[in-house]
Subunit: 344 residues, 2 copies
Amino acid sequence: MGLRNRQWLLARRPAGSLSEQDFEYRETPVAEPDPDAGDVLLRNLWLSFDATQREWVKDQEGYLPPVGLGEVMRASAVAEVVRSANPALPEGSLVQGLFGWQDYVIVRPDDAIPPSPLPAGVSPEMCLAALGGTSLTAYFGLVDIGGLAAGKTVVVSAAGGATGSMAVQIARLRGARVIGIAGGADKCAWVKSLGADDCIDYHAENLPERLAALCPEGIDIAFDNVGGAQLEAMIGQLAHRGRAVLCGQIAGYDAPEAPPGPRNLMTLIYRRARVEGFLMLDYLHRTHEAFAELGPWLGSGELRWHADVQEGFEHIPRTLLRLFRGENRGKQLLRLDPPKGGPA
Amino acid sequence: MGLRNRQWLLARRPAGSLSEQDFEYRETPVAEPDPDAGDVLLRNLWLSFDATQREWVKDQEGYLPPVGLGEVMRASAVAEVVRSANPALPEGSLVQGLFGWQDYVIVRPDDAIPPSPLPAGVSPEMCLAALGGTSLTAYFGLVDIGGLAAGKTVVVSAAGGATGSMAVQIARLRGARVIGIAGGADKCAWVKSLGADDCIDYHAENLPERLAALCPEGIDIAFDNVGGAQLEAMIGQLAHRGRAVLCGQIAGYDAPEAPPGPRNLMTLIYRRARVEGFLMLDYLHRTHEAFAELGPWLGSGELRWHADVQEGFEHIPRTLLRLFRGENRGKQLLRLDPPKGGPA
């Protein structure tokens, strides 16, 4: 076949903040797929960038094994089936999965996380930005862990991010009152345009004071993507029997060591409140529940999504850095240019 | 009547560690009870000392209003009814309630937390040490918040304390595997004598390493009275869907500022785990459930309790300090000498 595969490998464990030098570029020949083994050759079209990738490169316990040194960086992606010995994945169809920072990948039926076909009429951008892990995370975190219901007061941190912007909208569409937290006036304006009742600019405003003013009856559900001081501020304003839903802790991912934890856990006792973590992976068997509610909202335009689209294979590592610099608005994606010498 | 009332008042808000100088001694005449108002005159016999009292003297939000400066220090106690205009509380009978650091107190039927008669055959010590808030806290924290069941791995911090020693035994009697955490070899030996499978001496041993060694499958229920580093260590070893039950945070009560919170809350996400606070006050309508289970265990001697009994009105403030110096083993009580000039 003679295809060449561009790849970005993990070159070293990041010390402190992630840098482009933590990754190494390589080109290798693409192995010949084995039809007898059910091999399917995919070509990546779109890459998804997720804060959790920062955790995958750490040599520590996680919900997936760490990416090994010298291995292709793990990433969620949408790919086209280029060659297939599997009738369920016909050539030319689009699939989603953990295909990594490379042009080509061979997947097999017995892979732990197999590729899943895109629903009809769903573009790769919509798939990754509005129906992927981001939205499922927001949905099940709010509904299942948070106990989302109409009339509740919901606060969402990193509300301008991919997951946060979905959480804001899902909470609002379910009839909750929603306060966002984001960095910068532009992001806050965008979060309000998504339907948040208000949005606190944590760069410019005193977060605990603003939360107290905006949530005088307390926060019923704090959907937290950040950790650190923002989580502490939300815990401080939890309502009686309030819940802090831990989705992520981006404040700590890219730091040399974890930031101080919340010092106000006595509040959990006085308010009979709860802090609980969850992983979207646990809800893969219930995605139909989310899609049944999200699909009509997407179709009607009530649920909006925004993809921040970068271009070019060479820009892959620096695109990941955008997440930790607060540069992305909505879902960070990168569209891959077709590799030279490959099929169009 | 001419009775004189010895009292210890809150003289100032403690700055940093509690000291005897935070309290002031006073003698005042006892007011004449008003039979028409249903007044009942009580004489305190036994005082209970509880870590939560350290929180009551802070000028901050709590589950009860702060004790005011110049007010009698709030305390749980067992008292004898000296004079009564209430047929439900006959003279000579024993009652439990928040009667404070004083010899005499007048209670009324419309008090927010009314006195409750001691069950027949229950001594004041047993009442305060084994059937009071201590045991109810251990019981409902484990059963209701922790989801206690046979076969679970339970870790209890401050396991040599009043609540902790009850939690260890309740967990064991319910068929759980129990690891205690306590300070010092003597306390650890006592905790093991109560039936703990093991007890970690946090003064002498590396707590995270020992928890990992003793709970290789993870902690299902961490019953935490301490907070700070001990809570962080327990969170670090939580099992998949494990629960940290926050009963108290004694590490922070007597400190000038709250100690750093747990930095490892990402663990809650990876393990789908929960940290939840509760207050025994919410379970007062369900005390019969606890007594139905605790009573037979107490009767059979399977559930043991230990009262650390001090004597003398003048020693009341320093007896409270024992809790924060780790000097008490089991429930800290003080027996009051009869006041001069009063009824025997």
